[in-house]
Assembly symmetry: C2
Homo-oligomer: 273 residues x 2
């Protein structure tokens, strides 16, 4: 049975208690899962408190991401790997699930290229930022995941990833989850956040697009705003990597994983085989 | 070949770069290792910056420890599991060692009892503090460590531990390392910190005690001050748990692990068999 890969975001409004209860109930039903999480809202809070307020940049192609200098990376790592990861592992352990939390640097789980110099759009002009601690996930250490899952552990994964030289790099969690789903041959990838899915008229939640066929992806991409653009990109990468379907779902309450399994949210289907 | 268990403290002055370089060189020589670390100085800094300055309590038997309410636990977890653990894993990965960082809650690695109510000495009187998030390590998940080591990963372990109910609990890193050394059947446990070892006249570093025979333990304990008292307790527990020798060594510079292997520091020997 191929695992389901669930990515839960770190934005305001996400209910990690509900998510972990739902994950635990599925694990007890024998569903193999891998959980990936974010932590952006909490990172912003802590970074601000520590006097290193978050900054965001926009790429020339219109994607927004965290400006990650070394100090920002270290705060990011502290919150994602320390606070959020261990908080989720604790919730799952309390619900009887033997979770193991790992970052992408542990065991070179998520390895890729560091992009030291990034191009950003500023006041309509392209500028090059140097000394960036960001990068991509090009390889997933599937052996480590299978080693743990084979012994009944539930992996709980979080950025950062690791460069070929062994440096920690800020990688996008949605795209890392997509890579992980492809590498594991997952049937389903869920990208759960604080919206019901892809909205035709953001932020009107009644404008939810329920299904996007593979050939309609570019058209649907037109509706995506902000973070949803990266989720769509991750979804496309997962489908192109052989994942059967991707569900963009809501993690604000209820049973977010079971709802997404039932197709609540925006369902993106792979190309017909 | 039984592994060496190395605990490196988190006090001011400890050189994690030197430690990791030394660990990497031993790993490349084929020496099986497990690394355990602390993070107290950095936790104190971050807690103070976040407006939750650290507080310490003294037990009726004279041991000092961090006052751990839920907020203190969460900051502790953030720094130990996020900053320090991932910083060490990154250093080792950059040196070509495939390290995997885990806390005691991951995979129930360090399981024990939560002590919700603790007795502390205050102005000469014993008081009971409630809602403490501290506890002991009674069981080590040796299977998980062997699973990882069997595939060539170096485990990098950090508090907190986990209660039987699955809650995160602040456990002492030296004693957790001692338990781990016993559980793994380690020949040697190293407790490395920012002093040369057990000093007869603390803080006079020329008063180093070079060796303590098992039968002289109680006498040597008289010289231990502050944190060294808990290290001595951990050392005793390790020796009683079958570890051949414990070295209290210096992690401020040089090659701290190789020096301790050569017996530099205070060497405590197990009871003659």
């Amino acid at each position: 049975m191929n695992p389901i890969v669930i990515k839960v975001g770190g934005s305001e409004g996400i209910d990690l208690d509900a998510l972990c209860a739902d994950v635990a109930s599925l694990v007890h039903d024998g569903v193999p899962l891998v959980l990936v999480h974010g932590g952006s809202a909490e990172t912003n809070r802590v970074a601000t408190q520590l006097g290193h307020a978050p900054q965001f940049v926009t790429s020339p192609s219109g994607f927004t991401s965290r400006l990650t200098d070394r100090k920002a990376l270290e705060i990011f790592e502290m919150v994602y790997c320390g606070s959020i990861n261990k908080g989720i592992v604790e919730r799952l352990q309390m619900a009887g699930v033997n979770a193991v939390g790992l970052s992408g640097i542990d065991g070179r789980l998520w390895e890729g290229r560091r992009k030291k110099n990034i191009r950003v759009l500023e006041d309509g002009k392209i500028r090059v930022l140097r000394d960036s601690w960001t990068g991509t996930v090009d390889r997933v250490n599937v052996d480590l995941l299978n080693l743990l899952m084979g012994q009944g552990y539930l992996p709980v994964l979080t950025p950062p990833g690791i460069s070929e030289d062994g440096e920690a790099i800020n990688v996008d969690g949605d795209r890392a989850a997509a890579r992980t789903a492809s590498a594991l041959g997952a049937d389903t990838l869920m990208l759960l956040s604080n919206v019901p899915g892809l909205l035709k008229a953001f932020p009107d939640e009644s404008s939810l697009l329920r299904e996007v066929a593979y050939e309609d992806f570019d058209e649907a991409m037109e509706f995506a705003e902000g973070r949803m653009r990266i989720k769509m990109l991750g979804a496309k990468e997962a489908l192109d990597g052989g994942v059967g379907r991707v569900v963009l779902g809501d993690a604000r309450n209820g049973q977010p994983v079971r709802a997404a399994m039932d197709g609540v949210g925006t369902v993106l289907m792979g190309a017909a085989k």
